[in-house]
Amino acid sequence: MQRRGAASGNGAPLLHNMDIKETITSAWSDRDLYTGLSILEAMCVWSSECPGEALPEQMHDDMVKMFGLDAVQGERDLLLSTGVITLKNGGTVMDSKFYKPLSSLVNEKALCMQVFFNGIRFPIGEFMSGLGEYLVREAGATKQEQPCNDNCRLSLTWEDKAYEFRIAFSPVWLPAIADRAAENNMFVAALCPFAALQWEKTMISYYEYPSFRNHTACYDPWNNCKLNISKGGLFTYFDWYLRDAYGSKFSIPGTFSQALFDMGLLRYNDER
């Protein structure tokens, strides 16, 4: 059930930010929840990275490639209708007052995603807290407090560099944070099911950019694979955590290696 407030200036209904989670959730009841959360997640990240700026066209295109035009349009229309986003210069901008409740909604849902290791199904949040304990214990990393109890993020410092692991629905937002990560010599890893999200059509092109390839990584605990050529040394311990805690090893998709080869970032020692 949607509770609507007064009309906004652009014709969209005004909502109190406390109601927005319920409104959005309710609207998703007859839609694909996963797609909705993924798109909302990306918009929240963009809003946090570049408040007041319109969502870049490229990010929108990536979302279309990952989720399909109809799904993205549907979510866009929904968020426009609720006043969460407004149109600006042909793009969309999230109203800053909704950032907090909506990112909280995204996080709550993300933490509920289930992973499956060694025949046991459990929430990804549990995987992440185990990772945090492991990195502190084995690598000597220092855990940083999250300002808003964001349990989807694990922030650490290790060897004077900042690291962040984020549970996410998709990696579509990762390029948006790459430049800032590079400027701050920070390393960000997304834990998301990228293997099921047409990543070949979207993520690969970003490896042309040093900030992206050197400072971000993607892990997919649902499909046991990873995309990582970053310079973040702590990420080695992620592999070791998998090995030690779950006896698991993530592979690197052949498509990824081939793409790096095509870009001239790696070679094969044969005559292909």
Binding site: E138, A139, E159, K226, N228, I229, S230, K231, G233, L234, F235, T236, Y237, D239, W240, R243, D244, K249, S251, I252, G254, S257, L260, F261, G264, L265, L266, R267, Y268, N269, D270, E271
Partner: protein
């Protein structure tokens, strides 16, 4: 003080050298004569029953032979050369020894002291008088120029002290040829008062030993890396004892190969670009590595690209080296220990025995067994590969089958080196030799003669390429002259294969200047492949020679060569297109690193 009054007398400079070599109990002086060396040689004329003069057909070969001799015996030999081209040609051998912590005394001649800065024949004079020292300085522990007889007496014991203590390395002594001939009042020093009196095998503090053991004990996936320093320190027995005591798997660098028998259950193989997968995968997963005398070169570490060979950090290093400069040169260390490998290992053994320390690491050994199986499944079929042209692996497996267990193996430089690295099973520790640092082609071809001088009773084999062999084919003549029945096995692929492979894999297959072919046109790579008949060459030099084209003929030919006790060249036509399995990587920036061709992709 080297001058005790009762020993002072009148000596010619060359006599001081010869008398001192007697006192050092030097069995051979190797070199090549020229007008700048005959004054020196003359003083050895009456001492040939004690010091044999061996002269191969070029100065570089003399240096390679002395280098090989040192690697086996730890006894540095003098290498005499003349002035100008002789010293210049020997630089390559000096550098080869220096990079691999081997040693010999390079004695060069020089224009006479009264002709300094005249530009007399072969004098280096245009920037500084008599200045060969500037050319050799990067490759020696010390470069001396003796301009008086007394200085020869002063420099010789210091030279031997430097070569034999701490991290070995070659030393240069230059003597103008008038100084060989003039008499001076001096004494021939006694080595006992110099190198022989120095206790350089320093250990470390007890607290450090205890800390190393604690870290190894607490580790879940420990490894021991035996680098070339284990051979240099002659610590092979101690390595085995400690590894077995601690139950920790051992792997080596290329230079450390043969520090432990390849068949030892704790031995994982070699780490490196063309190393063994069990060692490499173990390194990627190790939490602590006890590093013994290894400098972490680019070929060893996958050019330091994380994830290919190592993950440092996270892996923690306890690096022991006698040369502090090598500690933490390329990777940060958790603990650095300056000390002699053998002494530190003995300290670790004593403490471990006193504490009753025995590592468990059962899970770790279980993981490693999986890595071994993957590699063995890949390698085993090549033992019986019947393809022609011959697969290089089949060649090496067949040599191993018929060579004695303690056969001394010298690989050369080029693709033959990593083929031997990956497939030669070194069963008697301390019997594998190669040039890993300066990596001079021809070292193995000549070095095998140095090995024969050092160990006349041993079977000494050099596996080389057609490129390396033809740089130093006269080694066969030298072998015939001095009755040194070495065996040369040429992996003949009508090219300098290692560099051709770089063109195949790094430069899009554009092969130029790497194939041995007849020039028939204006285009590159369009001629018929051509090499001389190596077997016939060997025969004309008085040795034996045979050409092998079928796999089944390898073992009988090698067996016959060993049995014949004649210098023999076995020319084996191998498959020139078989790529070496790349187990980590090697990068030539800005060209990106190659992915390993064996094992799962390892970009972290």
């Amino acid at each position: 003080m080297i001058y005790s009054p009762d020993k002072i007398g009148k000596y010619k400079g060359a006599d001081v050298v010869a008398e001192y070599m007697l006192k050092e109990k030097i069995p051979y002086m190797i070199g090549y004569a020229g007008h700048g060396a005959i004054g020196l040689l003359d003083s050895f004329y009456d001492k040939q029953d004690k010091i044999k003069i061996v002269w191969p057909r070029i100065e570089t070969a003399a240096g390679f032979m002395a280098d090989a001799y040192f690697r086996i015996t730890k006894q540095p030999l003098p290498v005499y050369v003349s002035t100008g081209p002789g010293p210049a040609l020997s630089i390559c051998a000096v550098a080869n020894a220096f990079y691999d912590s081997s040693a010999f005394l390079q004695i060069t001649g020089q224009a006479t002291t009264d002709q300094f800065d005249t530009g007399a024949l072969q004098e280096q004079y245009r920037y500084h008088q008599a200045d060969f020292g500037s050319s050799i300085r990067s490759y020696v522990k010390q470069s001396y120029q003796a301009t008086t007889v007394k200085q020869i007496s002063a420099f010789l014991p210091k030279a031997f002290k430097l070569m034999k203590t701490g991290r070995p390395g070659p030393v240069h002594l230059e003597v103008p040829y008038d100084i060989y001939q003039v008499e001076g009042e001096t004494a021939v020093p006694d080595p006992e008062g110099w190198a022989d009196a120095i206790n350089w095998r320093t250990g470390t503090e007890d607290a450090v030993v205890a800390k190393i053991l604690k870290k190894l004990k607490e580790a879940k996936r420990p490894l021991i890396l035996a680098g070339g320093g284990v051979h240099v320190s002659e610590a092979r027995d101690e390595l085995k004892t400690f590894a077995e005591l601690a139950n920790i798997p051992v792997y080596t660098s290329l230079m450390g190969k043969g520090a432990m028998a390849d068949s030892h259950p704790l031995h994982l193989g070699v780490q490196g670009c063309w190393g063994h997968y069990p060692a490499i995968e173990a390194c990627r997963n190790a939490d602590v590595i006890l590093v013994l005398g290894c400098r972490f070169s680019d070929l060893h570490t996958g050019s330091w690209n994380p994830g290919f060979a190592y993950n440092i950090p996270a892996t923690k290093l306890i690096q022991v080296d006698i040369d502090a400069a090598e500690i933490a040169r390329n990777y940060p260390v958790d603990m650095g220990v300056v000390g002699d490998i053998r002494t530190v290992l003995n300290q670790l053994i004593s403490k471990a025995q006193a504490d009753g320390y025995m590592g468990d690491y059962a899970d770790w050994h279980g993981e490693i067994a999986g890595f071994r199986k993957e590699w063995d499944d890949f390698v085993t079929p090549f033992e019986t590969c019947d393809e022609t042209p011959i697969d290089p692996r089949r060649l090496i497996f067949d040599i191993r089958k018929v060579a004695p267990k303690d056969a001394i193996m010298f690989s050369d430089v080029g693709n033959n080196q990593p083929w031997i690295e990956q497939y030669w099973s070194s069963e008697t520790p301390g019997t594998h030799f190669t040039a890993g640092g300066f990596a001079a082609m021809g070292f193995g071809v000549c070095g095998v003669l140095g090995a024969k001088l050092a160990r006349p009773d041993a079977t000494c084999i050099n596996v080389c390429g057609d490129g390396g062999f033809l740089m130093m084919p006269h080694a066969v003549a030298t072998a015939v002259q001095y009755n040194l029945p070495a065996v040369w096995i040429i992996m003949n692929n009508y090219c300098i294969g290692a560099i051709r492979d770089l063109q195949r894999f790094y430069f899009g297959g554009r092969q130029i200047g790497t194939n041995f072919e007849k020039y028939e046109g204006t285009k590159y790579h369009d001629g018929e492949l051509w090499n001389p008949d190596f077997a016939a060459m060997a025969k004309t030099m008085g040795g034996e020679g045979v050409r092998i084209e079928k796999p089944g003929d390898i073992a009988p030919a090698v067996e016959q060569a060993i049995k014949s006790q004649k210098p023999t060249v076995i020319d084996v036509i191998i498959n020139r297109d078989t790529p070496l399995p790349l187990t980590t990587t090697w990068q030539m920036p800005p060209i990106p690193p190659a992915l390993p061709t064996f094992g799962n992709i390892k970009i972290r």
